[in-house]
């Protein structure tokens, strides 16, 4: 899998000279040297490295305007400097000589009113062309297999922002889902797939996004794939995203959304159609449990939480901790889905953990689920997160005054042993991602 | 531009009402009109907010009644008419003062204030009726916007009544003489403005049917 964020040094350098491909002339490159210098190294959010048709269009438009602006800037600042050097005097002392008192020149004035207007009018034409293009909804069709039958899916994902993570809802049988079919962001129809923090798209297809929010305004932004679009509660804003090549594309919430705004990130994982089909299959299936856990799960579904002997495996003990401590907010399909109204709904407003271990980030996209060095589970960060979420990501989930809304993950006061146990259980949720993906999605 | 002649206040040859200003018009009156221009944006904002929200009932079975459901047009028509007529009495008060007829001035000032009070009384009655019928300020966006807009207007009318009563008292004390016409005129401008705002509100908020 191509991983834009792990480019080698040479790739980065060649990428830097992308400008050249677009515009011959070393002078321009030199002019933008400052900008380029900042682009060296990893910069997964870089808007100057577009990786999709849409992002390319925006980039090209902006690029030419940067050039025009640069020319004007050099002209004006050059004129200022030139005048400063040429016309400078050190004192008026004793100097009764005045320069020619030219007060106006209407022809000149009209010229420099009209010329910029014409330049802007030309820019405006291209702006409108690009604007129309990036807002056009092109029908796309992806053939996918759901429950063994082939469906034609117009790829559409409902994106729901909340403090401080993103939820992605896939409606695979809706054919052509439209924003008008949705009503209340806090009570969306059951979806086939509910992912959080990371979402998969097939490459080479335009994927429609319908963006909304459950609480305050957020903004969904994957810079290399497209511009941003706000997630406004009560509104469903259409947007789109596409990736030319498989890879992992980083994003960050860009509308100030309160306390942990800076810690609200997400990633788009672009996959080949075959990989995407595998991802769907995996996401569509409920969690599976090994022979040791399964009896507990069955009895839980029948009669609620049971009890676990002290000498049981860590995962089983963790399962018990999960159902008593975590299940009131988090859903694991196949375990506590019956506790919620409608089997496929997402729980309350906490991430769906059914396939947690298949993700590579957690806590709203800010922490790595696996260690990059050896691919092992990142137990330290997971434990720290469960131990005191507020310390990792400031929130409003504990010590609430009357009527205050809990926002974020509360501190459940688990013992260290309980924390270890629940981590052991969480590790069982979902197939482990490939090492490549772990490397590519690493958050530094 | 031609060089201006200097108005020489020292000559006092024409005893104009106003001091010499660049435009020849009164500072105070110009300030009032400027202020009224600004008020257009204020009421415009509130009216637009209401128009935007007028059918937003909010979710759920409760609190979904909106003001347009229960407008009592005949009642509001009467109070609108009352406010409209108060503009007439206001202008008659000014006219009386110009003539130097203090008794008539007071009578018209008082009737203007009375008509304004009747309007406010009507508004209070309307508000309490709304609240009784379950359309309270906090119930849904439509009602919040309605009460804010009409309440804001009501506060303007009330302030106008205070000004009118102050003029009345001043007149009683013999301090309101024909040389004070501009003072009355300026209060009148404010009063008429509040009236024209209501002309707008009455049509756009009350009379234009909601689909």
């Amino acid at each position: 899998m191509k991983t834009p964020n792990t480019l080698t040094e040479t790739q980065t350098v060649s990428d830097m000279f992308k400008f050249r491909r677009r515009l011959p002339g070393a002078g321009v490159v030199a002019m933008l040297g400052l900008v380029l210098a900042g682009c060296a190294g990893d910069a997964e959010l870089d808007t100057l490295k577009p990786e999709s048709g849409t992002a390319d269009e925006i980039y090209d438009l902006a690029f030419w305007v940067f050039i025009i602006a640069g020319v004007v800037l050099v002209a004006v600042c050059g004129a200022v400097l030139w005048l400063a050097v040429k016309n400078r005097v050190s004192s008026y002392e004793g100097d009764e000589e005045f320069p020619e008192q030219i007060s106006h020149n209407n022809a000149l004035e009209i010229t420099w009113t009209i010329v910029p207007a014409v330049v802007l009018a030309i820019v405006a034409v291209f702006t409108i062309i690009v604007h129309v293009s990036i807002n056009r909804d092109e029908a796309a069709a992806v053939e996918i297999q759901v429950d063994g039958e082939t469906r034609v899916w117009d790829p559409t994902i409902v994106v729901v922002g909340q403090q401080w993570w993103w939820e992605y809802r896939y409606y695979l049988d809706a054919g052509d889902l439209d924003a008008s079919m949705l009503d209340d962001p806090s009570n969306l129809p059951p979806a086939d797939i509910v992912a959080s923090g990371q979402f998969a798209i097939p490459t080479g297809v335009e994927v429609d996004l319908i963006i909304t929010s459950r609480d305050v305004i957020h903004s969904h932004w994957i810079p290399r794939l497209n511009g941003k679009r706000d997630a406004v509660p009560g509104r469903f804003s259409p947007w789109k995203i596409e990736a030319d090549d498989p890879g992992v594309y980083f994003g960050q919430c860009t509308e100030f959304c309160g306390l942990s705004h800076s810690r609200m990130r997400m990633q788009t994982i672009a996959m080949t159609e075959a990989d995407f089909q595998d991802w769907i299959d995996m996401q569509m299936s409920p969690a599976t449990f090994d022979a040791e856990l399964q009896p507990y799960v069955d009895s839980y579904r029948e009669a609620g939480a049971g009890s676990v002997p002290d000498d049981a495996s860590a995962a089983l003990r963790g399962l018990d901790v999960f159902v008593t401590q975590c299940a009131s907010c988090h859903l694991v399909d196949g375990l506590n889905d019956l506790d919620y109204d409608g089997a496929e709904v997402v729980s309350g407003s906490a991430p769906n953990l059914t396939h947690l271990a298949n993700n590579t980030t957690f806590a709203g996209g800010i922490l790595n689920l696996y260690n990059d060095e050896d691919g092992s589970l990142n137990r330290d960060d997971l434990a720290a997160w469960i131990r005191d979420p507020d310390a990792i990501k400031a929130n409003f989930a504990d010590n609430l005054a009357d009527g205050e809304l809990p926002r974020g993950m509360p501190d459940r006061n688990l013992t260290e042993r309980q924390i270890n146990d629940v981590i052991a259980f969480l590790e069982t949720l979902g197939p482990r991602p490939t090492d490549e993906r772990i490397a590519a999605t690493e958050v530094e | 531009m031609a060089t201006a002649t200097i108005d020489s206040p020292d000559t006092h040859d024409d005893h104009d009402e106003h001091h010499a200003t660049s435009t020849g018009i009164s500072n105070t009156k110009l300030a009032m009109w400027t202020f009224l221009g600004s008020e257009c944006l204020l009421f415009g904002g509130l009216i637009s907010t209401y128009l935007l929200y007028k059918t937003r009932r909010g979710p759920g079975p409760d609190n979904t009644a909106i003001p347009t459901d229960i407008f009592d047009i005949p009642f509001t028509s009467v109070s609108s008419f009352v406010l409209l007529m108060s503009s007439l009495t206001m202008v008659l008060a000014l006219s009386a003062l110009t003539r130097g007829d203090n008794a008539a001035t007071r009578a018209w000032l008082l009737s203007t204030a009375m008509l304004g009070s009747v309007f406010i009384g009507g508004q209070v009655y309307e508000f309490t009726g709304f609240i009784r019928e379950g359309v309270g300020f906090t119930h849904n966006p439509a009602s919040s916007a309605f009460f804010t807009l009409t309440g804001f207007h009501g506060v303007h009318v009330s302030l106008g009544i205070l000004m009118l009563m102050s003029l009345y008292v001043a007149s009683k004390q013999g301090k309101l003489t024909p040389k004070h016409t501009e003072t009355v005129e300026i209060v009148g401008l404010y009063w008429h403005f509040v009236d024209v705002v209501w002309i707008f509100i009455f049509t756009v908020i009350y009379l234009i049917p909601v689909d």
Partner: protein
């Protein structure tokens, strides 16, 4: 209306009637230390108070800026918690916009407008004092939330709902924001009415509108923008306040409220606000550059009309702040186009400044350095502005540090540098001594370098994808280097401000040993330079008859038969000496101050305990009636005139009128 005031006579010798309607209230006479400042209605003293307070809040906002930069210097900054960081960046924005730049511009407007149009004072001197006191009480109220409100507002200066709602911002910070800005808004609105009337009505004979200095013109446009923009933000703040304090349902999406309502109202105000900030600086630049080029401003009428055009077009572009809000592609396209074309009149201004310098004799004094620096820096900000007028490009740039860079180049580069130049330029006129030129140049160069180091790299950061308003960032996104540079730059700016304060102190210390600057130290062009420095209390001994644009310059210089400039008079010959005596001046009053004290009390009452509202309301009401009943003049004060009780003269101004209630009532809204 309102505050029925004696319209000041245009020539000395015009007396006011001095009645004492109730025989009880008299007006203070001033002239004794701090009480003089508290009761003054002199536009110059009010201007100075605006300036000093603005500089105080510049320091406050600057400290907040340094905290932000310290936090962001390196990844995972630990100086501030997310909670405090959000309050700090919010208050930084609010402080710099509402408590620094606007009042500093108001300082120039107050001090200079009457001087530039040849007037004794503004049209309504007491109202002017009221504006200042209301503004300062609003400013203190706003900042008191640090102490009594559980921290500053934490919603950003733009305070988008529903994040500003009670559910998401439960402390009182946002309440203080909503009420504090309303109070400050009342001040600006009253000021706008006052100054508009002043410019239209108080001009010296012959001072037609098209002979007014560009600064007066730009300030006039600014006042119109304030006049019409403030009611819009007032509506928005009102709705927010009702939502938070009285459970209204304006912005709660759960009950059908629309968060975009706030955004539209905020930006309908917010965009004209940008021009409210920048136009005064444009005016100052337009005074400084001709003076130090020894040429008249190039294209006077184009400068005026482009200013008007900017002000006018500023009303049709607000939604460019909302290109990604989901307002619909059609709206986006329309606002994108309108925004792009606002660059045209702005460009006209820049080119006219260059043309003024063209062929001139450029003397790079400190004011000139700041003015030219402002032109260059504003050009950068203006051009980056064009890049996100393009809606598609804006979807990548908005809410990133690119925008932070852009508006700091506009507001700091174009606005603050220009205002700083204005301080150096008019300092001798205001305080009677020059600021030290050497230290001034040191100040300029340090500030220019610090400014570019701080905000230049932010362009790169933004294009690299660094979001705005984040309290920290992770390593590995390529943000480290430029954030560190920006932080270093911020401290260099802080250093330059210290240099400025040092210069102020030092110049004052050295002043007695230096020759007095005289009325016209810069060989400048407009009327304020024909009167002594510092400006005498009565401004002009004799109100000048204006015969041309750049009147003062034309009194010094004429043309010979070859159209060459020759001196026709020395400064001493044509300047006034400030010796006029017995000029009637408006009497001081304490009531503006008392009235202004009532408003924050009402504010605290709304937040904490409604009884305080009663107290505040009573104080306001008392002040209003006392204001109305206070005589126009103190009959005991010696103003050099016998009271001539000519009933036709000024009779309607004798302030016995209850309609002063009107004004206050309106002010109270």
């Amino acid at each position: 209306m309102a505050i029925i005031e004696e319209p000041l006579a245009l020539t000395s010798g015009e007396a006011a009637t001095a009645e004492r309607p109730l025989g009880g209230l008299t007006r203070p006479q001033g002239g004794n230390g701090w009480r003089d400042w508290l009761s003054t209605v002199d536009h110059k003293k009010i201007g100075i108070m605006y300036g000093v307070s603005a500089m105080f809040f510049f320091v406050v906002g600057g400290i907040e800026a340094l905290l932000i930069r310290w936090q962001l210097a390196a990844p995972e900054g630990q100086l501030l918690s997310a909670e405090v960081y959000n309050q700090v960046f919010t208050m930084h924005g609010v402080t710099m916009v509402f408590l620094f730049i606007m009042p500093l511009a108001a300082a120039f407007a107050n001090y200079l407008i009457p001087l530039q149009i040849g007037a004794r004072d503004v049209a309504f001197p007491r109202l002017n004092a009221l504006s200042f006191w209301i503004w300062i009480s609003g400013a203190i109220f706003l900042n008191s939330s640090w102490i009594v409100g559980g921290g500053g507002a934490d919603c950003g200066w733009f305070c988008y709902s529903p994040n500003s709602g009670l559910a998401f911002s439960p402390s009182h910070g946002v309440d203080f924001y909503a009420i504090g800005l309303q109070i400050a808004g009342i001040a600006s609105l009253l000021g706008a009415v006052n100054l508009i009337v002043t410019v239209l009505n108080m001009r010296a004979p012959g001072m037609s509108l098209f002979r007014m200095p560009i600064l007066t013109w730009m300030l006039l446009v600014t006042q119109f923008l304030l006049l019409f923009a403030l009611p819009v933000i007032t509506v928005a703040l009102f709705l927010l306040m009702f939502d938070r304090l009285f459970d209204a349902q304006f912005f709660n999406p759960a009950t059908g409220g629309d968060p975009l309502l706030w955004q539209h109202l905020f930006w309908i105000f917010g965009h004209p606000e940008v021009y409210i900030i920048i136009l005064p600086s444009f005016g100052i630049i337009s005074e400084i550059i001709p003076t130090f080029s020894r040429k008249p401003i190039f294209g006077y009428s184009f400068m005026v009309f482009s200013g008007i055009a900017i002000g006018f077009m500023g009303w049709g572009v607000w939604a460019h702040h909302m290109f990604v809000s989901g307002i619909g592609p059609f709206s986006v396209a329309a606002f994108s186009l309108s925004t792009m074309f606002i660059a045209v009149p702005t460009g006209v201004k820049i080119l006219n400044w260059l043309a003024t310098m063209w062929g001139g004799k450029l003397l790079f004094s400190t004011p000139m350095l700041f003015a030219v620096g402002a032109v260059a820096m504003f050009t950068i900000g203006g051009l980056s502005g064009v890049t996100h007028a393009l809606a598609p490009a804006d979807t990548q740039q908005t809410d990133t540090y690119y925008i932070v860079a852009h508006f700091h180049y506009v507001i700091f580069g174009g606005g603050v540098l220009g205002l700083m130049g204005g301080l150096y330029f008019w300092w001798p006129k205001i305080f009677g001594h020059m600021l030290n030129e050497t230290w001034g140049k040191v100040h300029f160069w340090i500030m220019l370098i610090g400014f570019n180091l701080t905000f230049g790299p932010m362009h790169v950061l933004g294009l690299q994808g660094m979001s705005r308003r984040i309290d920290t960032y992770s390593p590995g996104f390529g943000f480290e280097l430029w954030n560190m540079v920006a932080t270093i730059g911020a401290f260099i700016i802080a250093l330059s401000v210290l240099v400025f304060f040092y210069n102020v102190w030092r110049s004052r210390r050295d002043a007695p040993n230096l020759p007095a600057p005289g009325p016209d130290p810069w060989d400048a062009r407009s009327l304020e330079w024909m009167i002594p420095s510092p400006t005498p209390e009565h401004n002009f001994d004799e109100v000048p008859l204006v015969e041309s644009e750049d009147e003062w310059w034309h009194r010094k210089y004429g043309y010979d038969e070859n159209k060459r400039v020759v001196r026709i008079a020395t400064i001493e010959e044509v300047a006034q000496d400030g010796s006029a005596e017995g000029v009637h001046l408006p009497a001081p009053s304490f009531w503006p101050l008392v009235l202004a004290l009532g408003l924050p009390l009402i504010g605290y009452g709304l937040i904490f305990n409604l009884w305080l509202c009663v107290l505040g309301g009573a104080l306001t009401g008392l002040a209003l009636y006392s204001w109305a009943l206070e005589p126009v003049d103190d009959p005991d004060a010696d103003h050099g005139h016998d009271d001539h009780h000519d009933d036709d003269d000024g009779g309607d101004d004798d302030a016995a009128e209850p309609e002063a209630v009107t004004s206050g009532a309106e002010g109270g809204e």
